[in-house]
Amino acid sequence: MTDPILDIRGISKSFGALKASNNITLDLHPGEIHALIGPNGAGKSTLIKQVAGGLTPDSGTVHFAGQDVTPLSTAARAQLGMGRTFQISSLAMEFTVLQNVVLGALGRRGDVFRFFRPVMKDKQLLEQAHTALEQVGLEDFHSFRTSELSHGQRRQLEVAVALTLEPKAFLMDEPMAGLGAEGTQRLMGFLDGLRQRAPILLVEHDMDAVFALADRISVLVYGEIIATGCVDDIRGNPVVRTAYLGEEDAA
């Protein structure tokens, strides 16, 4: 088996008495979608923050592309190739759609300390931006102000920006949330093909999407991974049923 691109080794993080992450070990291999599921409050967001940066684990390390990135900043991890999309859309709302995507391409290229050339006339950046918008199906909206987009379109835009970063792996925090049935189907088809370009660590609430897409699933409950395995393993796992799926059914 190939080396994992993302390798989370024994991460723990406590807030006072609350163990938000308890010795979590998780990895992401090239070509796969690894879904992370778990009930509300299981510590998914805490885990994502430790992987993407912004929150330092109390113990354990995060290795990315063969390098220990635990002490690195969010920006440095993004430079190394972590393409993140946020649970709550985190875009520059005053910008046009195109500007947001150009920003991604610019960040990837890295030459932000240039003061004279008009950035929105940079052919290379524009080309990358338009390609990304086409891929997520937002090309028609490129001149819209981002704040005018629907919730679902903003999710698509987040993905488009992540694409311009040409990441080695994607970290997607609930990309389907609020998309509606048609949007979800569309995005699922897109992510399905995307895994060949870069693997995806997918945090998702939509069970149907997870079971349809994921190569592997990890189940997080109360800060602990209680199971990791392929779709059938997880479906059939009695611990998961009672801890997670059972609760959903009961609810």
């Binding site: 920006a75 910008f95 500007q99 920003l103």
Partner: protein
């Protein structure tokens, strides 16, 4: 987009026509007044670079305005008293040359901005406002208690500094210098606002998570913006001192910081030409209302309240609409 361009052009035209008219009507006072407006505009354009584009609400830009002023004052003072500025480890003489003074003002302000920015930018929000204010106040009290350069009384420079080929004591010629500098500063700021740096800085202001997710740290962007901002305001300070041929600690006072901020808010935060409109309106009000009452600031306050409550985008928001995203 179009309306904003017209408004920009109109502003520049007005600032060209008024002094020319005043020249022909033999009204040197009007020229001096317009010169003040242009210099204040430069200071405001400087602050706007940090405040408007970077979202850094600096309430201490008087520090840079004053540094620029004292750069002029100190250099010219030594030139007019024929004493060297320092003799050890090497001799530095004073100078009456404007370009040298401007360069000194820009470099000194930029260096101080690196220091102040590096410390201040560790904070944000209201703490950033207070720490920048505190730094400016430090300069204020330092100059008050610095007898070498006049302390509280300030420094008088008897003859305006020199610019090759021009008679700077002639109001219209000095005005021409200031106007051209304003044009150059506006050109630089306009280009910078539409440059890769401008895009990244604006993104950082709107959403720090976003700029980090695309692999760029906001701190370096903010610090760079703050330094450029301080350097421009410092240059304005040097011109202001030359206009008055006088420097005093007042240039460092928090009222000065407040006034520079008023230019930006009146004109329109984050609009390249906003502070030009703001400074022009400020001078107009000062002139018109100042004749009515010594307490004209009351009316200024009322107008400012009106702008903040009902016309958030300032004059530009009112006349050119909401900012249209860059093309």
């Amino acid at each position: 987009m179009k309306r904003e361009t017209y408004l920009n052009a109109a502003l520049l035209l007005i600032l060209l026509v008024i002094p020319l008219w005043a020249q022909s009507a033999d009204e040197p006072f009007i020229i001096t007044l317009t010169t003040r407006a242009v210099i204040f505009a430069i200071a405001g354009v400087g602050l706007n670079f940090a405040l408007g584009f970077g979202g850094l609400v600096s309430f201490g830009h008087a520090a840079f305005f004053g540094i620029g002023g004292y750069a002029m004052g100190i250099l010219a003072y030594h030139a007019q008293t024929y004493t060297p500025l320092m003799e050890f480890p090497f001799v530095i003489e004073g100078t009456k040359s404007m370009p040298v003074i401007w360069l000194t003002a820009i470099i000194t302000s930029a260096l101080v901005a690196v220091g102040l920015g590096a410390l201040s930018l560790r904070t944000s929000g209201v703490y950033f406002i207070m720490i920048t204010l505190a730094f400016a106040q430090m300069f204020f009290f330092f100059t008050i208690s610095w007898p070498t350069y006049g302390g509280e009384d300030g420094l008088s420079i008897y003859i305006r500094n020199d610019f090759p080929g021009l008679n700077t004591m002639d109001p219209i010629q000095f005005y021409a210098i200031c106007y051209v500098i304003l044009l150059l500063v506006l050109f630089f700021v306009y280009r910078a606002a539409h440059s890769p740096f401008g895009l990244a800085l604006s993104a950082a202001r709107q959403n720090e998570d976003r700029i980090q997710a695309v692999g760029q740290g906001p701190y370096r962007l903010y610090l760079t913006a703050y330094v450029i901002s301080g350097a421009i305001t410092g240059l304005a300070g040097a011109l202001f001192a030359d206009l008055n041929r006088f420097v005093s600690p007042t240039m460092f006072s928090w009222q000065t910081s407040g006034e520079i901020m008023i230019f930006v808010i009146l004109g329109g935060v984050g609009r390249v030409f906003g502070p030009v409109a703001g400074a022009a309106l400020f001078i107009l009000l000062e002139h018109q209302l100042g004749g009515l009452s010594e307490f004209w600031h009351i009316y200024l306050g009322a107008i400012l309240l009106g702008v903040v409550l009902f016309a958030r985008g300032g004059l530009f928001g009112l006349f050119a609409g909401r900012e249209v995203a860059h093309d």
